[in-house]
Symmetry: C2
Subunit: 486 residues, 2 copies
Amino acid sequence: MYEMHFGVPMSGAVLNNINTRLDARTVSVLLKHAGSKLVFVDPALLQLLRDALRLLPPGHPAPRVILVEDPHEEEFPSAADPSMLTYERLLEEKGDPEFDWIRPRSEWDPMILNYTSGTTSAPKGVVHCHRGLFLVTVDSLIDWAVPPQPTYLWTLPMFHANGWSFPWGMAVVGGTNVCMTRVTAATVYAAIARHGVTHLCGAPVVLNMLANASDAARKPLPAGKKVRILTAGAPPPAAVLQRAEAIGFEVSHGYGLTETAGLVVSCAWKGAWNRLPATDRARLKARQGVRTAGMAAIDVVDGETGRSVPRDGSTMGEIVLRGGCVMLGYLNDDEATRAAVRDNGWFYTGDVGVMHPDGYIEIRDRSKDVIISGGENISSVEVESVLYGHPAVNEAAVVARPDEFWGETPCAFVSLKQDAAGTVTPADVIAWSRDRMPRYMVPKTVVFRAELPKTSTGKIQKYVLRNLAKEMGSTRKGASSSSSKM
Amino acid sequence: MYEMHFGVPMSGAVLNNINTRLDARTVSVLLKHAGSKLVFVDPALLQLLRDALRLLPPGHPAPRVILVEDPHEEEFPSAADPSMLTYERLLEEKGDPEFDWIRPRSEWDPMILNYTSGTTSAPKGVVHCHRGLFLVTVDSLIDWAVPPQPTYLWTLPMFHANGWSFPWGMAVVGGTNVCMTRVTAATVYAAIARHGVTHLCGAPVVLNMLANASDAARKPLPAGKKVRILTAGAPPPAAVLQRAEAIGFEVSHGYGLTETAGLVVSCAWKGAWNRLPATDRARLKARQGVRTAGMAAIDVVDGETGRSVPRDGSTMGEIVLRGGCVMLGYLNDDEATRAAVRDNGWFYTGDVGVMHPDGYIEIRDRSKDVIISGGENISSVEVESVLYGHPAVNEAAVVARPDEFWGETPCAFVSLKQDAAGTVTPADVIAWSRDRMPRYMVPKTVVFRAELPKTSTGKIQKYVLRNLAKEMGSTRKGASSSSSKM
């Protein structure tokens, strides 16, 4: 997949990475929508691909399949049909060392197609051009201050918005790429120690995994060398940031979307903040931040009037972005493109946030995740960030549960740390919350689960939890309820 | 001048920094050629500007003059005519804090005008657009791996190709700018110690000045902190690089021209090279290097056929560059623009170099500085780099001297280190050179001078020396001559 990030665009084609954890039906939908002509596939996924191809509508031209054999893959050493064209054979038989790469006619020519994960709607095909990808690549290198020749660990899947541009970024700075098949706390700590990893990226769930790792899984970080983590993809709870830094990771926090090709908002850190207590530092670092140098503008606007919200850190509005990293549009979906990119190039993110007096934005929620209780907007992220502070809590997700009186009330799904099971009850968590947040924000329902449902990119699937909450039926006015081990 | 780099383009105007060491006649020529409408001037230069304005042709509209008073300037505390408009009064009386900056209609709109120093021809006005300056700015930050919030010392004049883009670069990374009126070894060492300087730029003459500083002028570099120097503007002699690194500076080396807005070729350093002896390291670091990420291509071509020279490290050709940092063109000089930017966007630098087998280029000379002796091309830079290795030599410049038989022979102008005067003769230097270079390259003439003539940007003025060499008359076949203290 790393080589594809270079070879495919340099051959004049558009690269579409497919999430390796999708099912055959979805893969089939994407292949059809993208009009894919050529598919490179790992032996471990060959059966899935064959199933997907069978699901293509009759008459749809089937893409050519090329098998990328993997000498490091133990489970599927000889899964290949010997008659199939393999990547290595293709290079050997048809590769031309003198091939002069095909430059785009225009820097605005498409180069990448990425499908959004589509938790609520059909996947949308985000198209980026050479220019936008160049911009986000150099922008991210500067923003994270990546030095020459780093050692980069691929904890972030490369199919996730092109690994936030770092396949190209690592090439610019001559980095070493360390790839892994399975990302667990033990494999990550082992890879860091073995390869002298200096940089890695990951959603807050990865941070959380590393911070809450058992002693057996954990290896000490290389002495005298900083291990830098760039986190994004979801608002990181301050408590998780604090724990990761206590272990010795140097965490940077940014924000971006598939539609911006990578991170375009950054929690630019001020030296003076280092003198603050750890909890204040973590609270400041949990803010998404300011625009990067590659973007023209960022704002938080009222969804109805389109006007900037006050810079008060409390008035919620939609986060909007403008600049060179914004996508060309959604493939074959002009309507969705027009809805997302409006008013002379402003991209409407669908994320709800606030603007602080110092110009830093902070995400409060995805629009659809906001809980509206008795007319009050409750940020599920804010409630979760308090729950993460509870010593027994491993992960927490808060969604709306229907309520006869209030309309909706906050319902928290919580997984506990390994050694905490049985030591705490849902009622304890509710009581603990009451001491730490306004009454209307306190979860009326707390549900313990062994694990929270997640997307392939490690995001908690709130729509699954929202359905569970709906199935639980309405809470009654004023009542709190809780259940365990659903 | 730092503020002008932002305020002028943001008001929709084009910024032209004028070299502060030019004479009134040249300033007058530039003001006329540029059609300047507004001139901001320092009190120390007010008289010079008035002289220049008087030299404008009759009827030429005089630009408006605004005095930038300098509270730190001791010599000219009250030079201002009280009736003159000052910068501070302009801001106070006409400044609008609500002013929304004027964005360019197109990123290709001109933003900067820089006049080349014009050692041989009339100054040419190099025009760069917003896009090119953005590219070179982010490119230089990545290439030099500038971290957030560095402390940058302005040893490089800001009027010299906009300080190689670092006025904007320092703003991107939130740097602290330390400015100085007078750049000497003592003031630079003092500023580094006082402000904890982490980064500075300078031509090799600055490196040489720091490396050869007396003990009285030198202060130890801050303990535990690296001081990084980026050098460019002339090929740095390996001996000077070696001495600077021995003191503790971490030197990076790049290459660019006014026409590329900053450095676009970089001696990208390989880890394996750190295991080489210091002399080999310095020799490798003296090569200009490979293109930066912001450029599309670099090559060394035969001046007549336009074909790439072999990658053998010895065949000389003209260095050519293509990519986003190349200028829009020369102001009002289409002929010069067409001569410089040809063949679909290739910029012909006028620098003569070689391509090494590993793809690194090394400059051998400016075209006009090459010495042609008996049909052999001699790189003055190569001869100089040997002379710099002589323990008594402070600076060296080699030019062509007419010769009855050979056509030209190398003539070296040399300044000695302070404590070396009287310990060495020109004949010693010639004998020393004979042991270290091919016979045809050995200077037939060595002239000692207290100081070598320099441009305002610290480059040695070879045309002055070339004229001196011409005035000395032809050398006779086979004879060596030398003179001292001309």
